[in-house]
């Protein structure tokens, strides 16, 4: 899909997306699977109990041992129970009453450091925010430092999402993965588990300890909840900051608006720039789309979140234009399909929205804050999403 919304008489088809070009260049990677970009069809499919999780190297996962694999790969009742057991940690009330404290503390440190240094890479700042918040929710709070925790998590995630062909490469990769996981378990998980055996807390890890998860099961669950939140929120914060730096009226509206308006702005940015572009599902039972298209059992389909989010039937006219009033006007939940839908919808969606809002609200109130260099946009084929690197922000000294 191109960004030229021809036929829009008012706005001449303005396209506000910053990640469109690189996303379009990656679209051919889904050759061989049916791509669904219609919003309603995508939603029906993601909500259907006839679908199973697919993609993300699930073919290499042993589904016969659900206790040792991440909830992400599960479906049906067992998936629902695993999600429900910790759902309260991601509820809006919990976010406001508990996680805001962590978010504010993290941004205090991040902005103080920026004022001290004068300038800093934006993706490092957003990464620290994402790590601090995710670590607290998951329960990785007994590490030597969150900075070291972040480095170890990065090494595990880098090793796990890198896909290489060939026996030797796989061997090296597996060895790296084992080392990275081993360090993460020893330095971050073991002390946290020990602390929670003595004094349980209200976090994911305490739940896993209470339910006697195996070592492998605990690692998988912690990396799923923590890693996903860290990787995606890091990019989302940078993308939103970039839009706000480039668009003065939008920035002024963000800074003068109430929380609900700030969220509307962030949700609209996310609609245009979803961090994950594709989701995949395997058809477990024959399924018929609303338009009559039949999907066969065993077929793998790719849901294009980027396309669904600009489906004019849902967005109204000028779908490529950043319009924070769109969601309310169209009576659609703001981020549209950006957090997925159905049973696998992102559990940390609201956490990401809140930490991004707090981060940006504080950043843009710093005296003299400015974007020294814009980020370079690249594509990470392993997570089907954009990466923004190289952005540098500066501000006046404290």
């Amino acid at each position: 899909m191109d960004g030229n919304s021809a036929g829009c008489p008012v706005h001449q088809g303005r396209d506000d997306r910053k990640s469109a070009k690189v996303a379009e260049a990656s679209a051919d990677m889904h050759t061989g699977t049916r791509v669904i970009g219609n919003f309603v069809a995508a939603r029906d499919l993601l909500r259907s109990p006839k679908m199973r999780q697919a993609g993300a190297s699930i073919e290499h996962v042993d589904l016969s041992k659900p206790d040792e694999i991440s909830f992400f790969f599960l479906d049906g009742e067992i998936h629902r129970k695993r999600r429900a057991a910790v759902a309260g940690l991601f509820a809006p009330k919990t976010i406001v009453t508990r996680h805001h404290v962590v978010m504010n503390r993290a941004i205090d440190e991040i902005t103080a450091d920026l004022q001290k240094r004068g300038s800093a890479p934006l993706d490092e700042m957003s990464w620290q925010m994402a790590v601090d918040v995710a670590a607290d929710i998951v329960g990785l709070t007994d590490s030597d430092s969150n900075r070291n925790l972040a480095i170890r998590v990065r090494k595990v995630l880098d090793a796990s999402i890198r896909q290489r062909k060939g026996f030797f490469s796989k061997l090296v990769l597996n060895a790296r993965m084992l080392i990275a996981v081993g360090r993460f378990y020893k330095h971050d998980m073991l002390p946290a588990i020990a602390a929670r055996k003595i004094q349980p807390k209200d976090d994911v890890l305490s739940h896993l300890v209470k339910e006697n998860y195996s070592k492998r099961g605990m690692i998988m669950e912690c990396l799923s909840y923590g890693g996903a939140g860290m990787l995606t929120t890091r990019e989302f914060i940078v993308m939103c900051a970039w839009h706000l730096f480039d668009n003065q009226p939008l920035r002024e509206r963000f800074l003068s608006g109430e929380e609900s308006d700030q969220f509307a702005i962030l949700e609209e940015i996310l609609r245009l720039e979803p961090v994950a572009a594709f989701l995949q599902r395997r058809v477990a039972e024959p399924f018929e789309e609303a338009n009559g298209t039949a999907l066969k059992e065993g077929e793998v389909v790719s849901i294009s979140i980027r396309d669904a989010n600009v489906d004019e039937a849902i967005t109204g006219p000028c779908p490529f234009e950043l319009d924070p009033d769109r969601g309310k006007r169209m009576k659609v939940i703001g981020p549209f399909m950006s957090f997925g839908d159905g049973p696998h919808r992102c559990p940390g969606a609201q956490v990401a929205m809140h930490e991004t809002r707090i981060f940006l609200d504080r950043l843009f109130r710093l005296p003299g804050v400015r974007l020294v260099s814009a980020p370079a946009v690249s594509w990470n084929p392993n997570i089907h999403g954009y990466e923004l690197r190289g952005a540098v922000v500066a501000c006046d000294p404290a």
């Binding site: 629902r80 999600r83 429900a84 057991a85 759902a87 309260g88 940690l89 991601f90 509820a91 809006p92 009330k93 919990t94 406001v96 009576k331 939940i333 957090f339 839908d341 159905g342 049973p343 919808r345 559990p347 969606a349 609201q350």
Partner: protein, 106 residues
């Protein structure tokens, strides 16, 4: 179309003509009932579409389900008849349903 009444915390009333087959939450959002936030889009992951079912209708809508319970508990909302609107499918039997909405969904 079943006619459903929403009564806000301030006592104001709104009526909607609901579409059968959609959830009560989807009907509320598409009719602009602002007290229903539904930030998770109807997946029982957020607890922000809470309604209080009128006592006379609780047998028809059913009790709170196992899927809703963790989220309702997380909100500390112990109001009688509390349900997540996303987990109430609208059927013809709900014609005349009365639900109240909370002052805040957080």
């Amino acid at each position: 179309m079943p006619r459903i009444q929403f009564i806000a915390a301030d006592g104001s009333e709104e009526f909607i003509d609901a579409v059968v087959g959609l959830s009560l939450m989807e009907n509320a959002v598409s009719n602009g009932i602002e007290a229903i936030r539904a930030v998770c889009g109807g997946n029982a992951y957020c607890g922000t579409c809470r309604v209080y079912v009128d006592p006379a209708w609780r047998a028809v809508t059913g009790e709170v389900t196992e899927m809703e319970l963790p989220l309702i508990e997380a909100t500390d909302d112990t109001t009688p008849g509390v349900r997540l609107a996303c987990q109430i499918p609208v059927t013809p039997a709900l014609d005349g349903l009365i639900v109240r909405t909370p002052l805040s969904q957080e």
